[in-house]
């Protein structure tokens, strides 16, 4: 089966399955977070899994999407347009800063992106007149309920956001899988393994890296916009360093090489804190532990490890 179609069917089935079993709005809200994180982490998969570049600043792009969606409506911009502008702005910023930053490799790149993320976070925290500062701000505007009312469906707010974010996660995954199996996707994966060989085949490595960085920034920004809308409230924490780390940890835990890794990582690290409330108090420690254990026990992540296991069983 065509990989994009397979991805679509599996993820769409999961979205529907969630809706079938969730007993309360609370579950829908957690489900919404899972889909938002899946979308953001799919962007990390494109960057880290396909090309092999580490970004510790993606929360910055996430925050640009979120704050554009929060701020622009108070200047008369409709929410949907605000979200689109936020995503475009994040993409533009990534395209501009990407070129110089992406010439760096390994931990130099990690540190440069870390700096970028911190800069964005600082602006959001300091410019209180615009962003509400550390206290955060309320997001006015669109409710997904209205969207469903148009087609005669009367859903609760939490349900409607669940469907909207689920749709975005499915679409994001399908686009990423399409890319992975396309001419540019092969170029990106070639760079992952050997940029000398890639450039000897006529691949403009700097341009390809910058493209991947831009795409992944747009993924993060769209996820941020969805979070702002679904939550109705945001704080600068969405742009904080720990959020960047969280996204990378989700990708690495699930397996950065595939979109399914993004889903599994997002699911585990989003749902777990809800189930185990102790998790909330030790969140940072647990993220660190997950990272270390994944690196030691299954460097390619959970999904590839399980696939290997299944293959070995079959033999």
């Amino acid at each position: 089966m065509n990989p994009a179609l397979r991805t679509f069917l599996i993820l769409a089935a999961l979205v529907v399955a969630g809706a079938l079993i969730f007993p309360s709005s609370y579950y829908y809200r957690v489900g919404t977070l899972v889909w938002i994180n899946t979308l953001a982490v799919t962007g990390i998969v494109v960057l880290l899994g396909y090309v092999g570049l580490v970004s510790l600043g993606h929360a910055g792009f996430f925050a640009i999407g979120a704050y554009a969606t929060a701020i622009l409506p108070s200047y008369g911009v409709p929410s949907v347009l605000a979200a689109i502008l936020g995503a475009a702005g994040a993409g533009l910023l990534a395209a501009i800063v990407g070129r110089p930053i992406l010439r760096l490799s390994g931990y130099y790149l990690a540190i440069a992106t870390l700096g970028l993320g911190m800069l964005i976070w600082m602006v959001l925290s300091k410019e209180a007149w615009l962003t509400g500062g550390p206290d955060g701000m309320t997001v006015m505007g669109a409710n997904a309920r209205d969207l469903f009312k148009l087609v005669g469906l009367n859903l609760r707010s939490a349900e409607s956001w669940y469907w909207v974010t689920g749709t975005f996660a499915v679409l994001g995954a399908v686009l990423a899988v399409n890319l992975g199996n396309s001419p540019w996707g092969r170029a990106l994966r070639a760079i992952h393994d050997s940029d000398v060989a890639a450039s000897s085949l006529g691949i403009d490595v700097a341009k390809a890296k910058s493209m991947a960085f831009t795409i992944s920034a747009v993924y993060a920004a769209v996820a941020g916009a969805l979070l702002a809308l679904a939550n109705g409230y945001i704080t600068p924490e969405v742009g904080g360093f720990m959020h960047s780390v969280e996204m990378v940890t989700m990708a690495v835990l699930g397996g950065a090489a595939s979109v399914f890794g993004a889903l599994v990582g997002a699911l585990i690290l989003t749902a777990l804190p809800q189930v185990l409330t102790v998790f909330a108090d030790y969140e940072h420690m647990i993220l660190g532990a997950v990272m270390v254990l994944t690196m030691i026990l299954m460097r390619r992540g959970l999904v590839p490890a399980l696939v290997d296991l299944a293959k070995r069983r079959r033999k």
């Binding site: 000398v196 060989a197 490595v205 795409i215």
Partner: protein
């Protein structure tokens, strides 16, 4: 005018001249071989020619156009392709995907079409797959197409790199020790493959330690020692050149070359 013209090319690493004022040309339809002892600067010369290193001195010309200092991907666009002595394959991909990557320059697809999985993007992928299968077949690897590259043997990977370079549609092909790690049968296959490539009118530049192969296949041989060109000529001239015998061929090498001649 030759396909590839190298003039006075040189580079130093920490005061040591790894390549020192090397000049030679490679013509279309010919195999030009670069030979010399370990550390002579052969691979470094390839890295200079293909833009991986920036030369301290000298010029590189393709079909009469100066391409000195161009980055590797632009040289590839100008028609140059290469393989690597220290294998640069994409181990996570299948053999087929490895070769398909070589189709990058002929693929007419844009990023948006690729993301959306538009028919135009799929068509390009289908075309590349065909071209890659054909190249794999030529390199004798068609049965391994779906295998991850990491499962292939050293000799197979060497040929995989040749297949990958071939699908770029290059006019100039630089091969760095393609027969290393090959058994006699495989070496014979590599020999035929290179011969066929030159017959198509491509300029082949070959680095190789297997003197039988070199003497059999080359139109022209350039001998390097300590970064410098110490001799140049047809195989029969090189085989009997006392400087070359002293620096490289030695008694054993000369015998091997003689055997190839017999």
């Amino acid at each position: 005018m030759s396909r590839l013209d190298i003039e006075d090319l040189g580079i130093s690493f920490g005061g040591i001249k790894a390549v020192d004022g090397v000049t030679f040309s490679a013509g279309a339809g010919e195999v030009t071989s670069i030979i010399g002892p370990n550390g002579a600067g052969k691979t470094t010369l390839f890295n200079l020619v293909s833009g991986v290193y920036t030369a301290d001195t000298g010029r590189v010309g393709i079909d009469g156009t100066d391409v000195t200092g161009k980055p590797p991907h632009l040289l590839a666009r100008a028609g140059m392709a290469r393989t690597f002595q220290n294998l640069q394959v994409f181990p996570q991909m299948t053999a087929l995907d490895n070769v398909m990557t070589g189709c990058h320059m002929i693929e007419r697809s844009n990023l948006l079409a690729d993301l959306l999985g538009l028919p135009s993007s799929r068509r390009e992928t289908a075309k590349s797959r065909e071209a890659a299968r054909e190249a794999l077949r030529r390199a004798g690897l068609e049965k391994l197409a779906e295998r991850p590259a990491s499962e292939l043997s050293y000799g197979q990977l060497k040929r995989l790199e040749i297949a990958r370079a071939l699908v770029t549609g290059c006019d100039i092909l630089l091969l760095d020790e393609p027969a290393a790690g090959c058994n006699a049968v495989e070496t014979r296959e590599v020999d035929d493959l290179i011969h066929g490539i030159a017959q198509e009118g491509k300029a082949v530049v070959l680095i190789e330690h297997d003197m039988r192969l070199v003497m059999r296949i080359s139109s022209h041989i350039v001998v390097l020692d300590q970064g410098r060109k110490i001799a140049e000529g047809r195989p029969d001239q090189i085989r009997n050149n006392p400087d070359v015998i002293a620096a490289y061929l030695g008694a054993h090498g000369a015998a091997e070359a003689e055997a190839a001649n017999a």
